[in-house]
């Protein structure tokens, strides 16, 4: 695997869609701002639609916690909002970065055996990690979650998606 700094220079084929907001109106209130979201571009004919995107809900959302927001508050936000039972977001990856060169990682997915959308469950609540030291921590997201409701993959096994936290740490070290 190339060093993380090289990864950003590699030409990517994933479509970046900065103009199509992933907005889903329920009661008309605006909720949180994700820092990135990822939606499969595969057929999902039964997926709940959104107002301004035909793609349906993203299956994975990433967010860096706000300053002065506690890790527990971030977790509550995820459980109550991002992975509420009113949408079909399947995985959330959060990073809380502190000013004393420490960070923590939060990963929440859904228990897909529990019902249509699945109850949210915390998969990873990392310890405090230094931003200036190499980490071997890995984030694992079930492949089924990333391809949730994709027509051709509903009945198939999908390998897990594994992300080295080191590749993220490299981007926010100071």
């Amino acid at each position: 695997m190339p060093p993380p700094v090289l990864l950003v220079h590699i030409c990517l084929s994933i479509k970046v869609n900065n103009h199509a907001a992933l907005d889903v109106h329920g009661d008309g209130k605006m909720k949180f701002f994700a820092d990135a979201s990822f939606t499969p571009l595969l057929a999902r004919t039964k997926t709940q639609a959104m107002k301004s995107s035909k793609l349906g809900f993203p299956t994975m959302v990433f967010e860096v916690a706000r300053r002065h927001e506690s890790f527990d508050e971030l977790e509550s936000e995820v459980m109550d909002e991002y992975l509420s039972m009113k949408n079909s977001i399947q995985a959330f990856i959060g990073i809380k970065i502190y000013d004393d060169k420490k960070f923590r990682v939060l990963v929440v997915t859904r228990n897909n055996d529990a019902g249509k959308f699945g109850n949210p469950r915390v998969d990873l609540r990392s310890n405090l990690l230094p931003t200036d030291e190499v980490t071997d921590l890995k984030i694992t997201i079930p492949g089924k979650s990333l391809l949730w409701d994709c027509d051709d993959w509903i009945e198939k096994d999908v390998p897990d998606f594994v992300l080295d936290v080191e590749s993220l740490r490299f981007m926010f070290r100071k």
Binding site: L12, H19, L22, K102
Partner: protein, 135 residues
């Protein structure tokens, strides 16, 4: 929204954030700052109040325009939340958000290829333009 209005709103944002943007966010003790301070405006004489600053109520239509300005204060990224006429402000750490997203994109790209999903298997959105309504 004209430049005067933008500058006035930015002035309100800076005041409403107060010291919270500059004060450290330590890992070893709870922060004393509200992570979602409300947007305030200077009081006017006709407000008939002794307070110098009052909570600013605006319509969602104005908010939709406001959401696109005053996005950086003191180098920090500012996000805004809207609820029943009240604007809440959040401060994001100084990190390379675009680069972080690219890490996800690249790893997803490789994962998609390894699972025969094709080259364009995922769409992504970045920090701005990602107004995520999840109610």
């Amino acid at each position: 929204m004209d430049e005067d209005a933008k500058n006035w709103l930015k002035y309100c944002v800076v005041h409403s954030l107060g010291d919270s943007g500059r004060e450290p966010d330590w890992s070893f003790q709870p922060s004393e700052f509200d992570p979602w301070p409300r947007l305030h405006r200077p009081s006017l004489e006709e407000d008939d109040t002794n307070e110098d600053w009052l909570e600013l109520d605006i319509s969602e239509k104005v908010y939709q325009k406001f959401a696109t300005i005053a996005n950086y204060i003191h180098g920090y990224r500012i996000v805004k939340d809207f609820n029943d006429g009240t604007i809440y402000l959040g401060i994001k750490p100084k990190v390379r958000y675009g680069a972080l997203r690219h890490v996800f994109e690249h790893t997803l790209h490789l994962w998609g290829l390894s699972n025969n999903l094709g080259k364009d298997s995922f769409a992504s959105t970045g920090s701005f333009g990602t107004h995520l309504f999840v109610d």
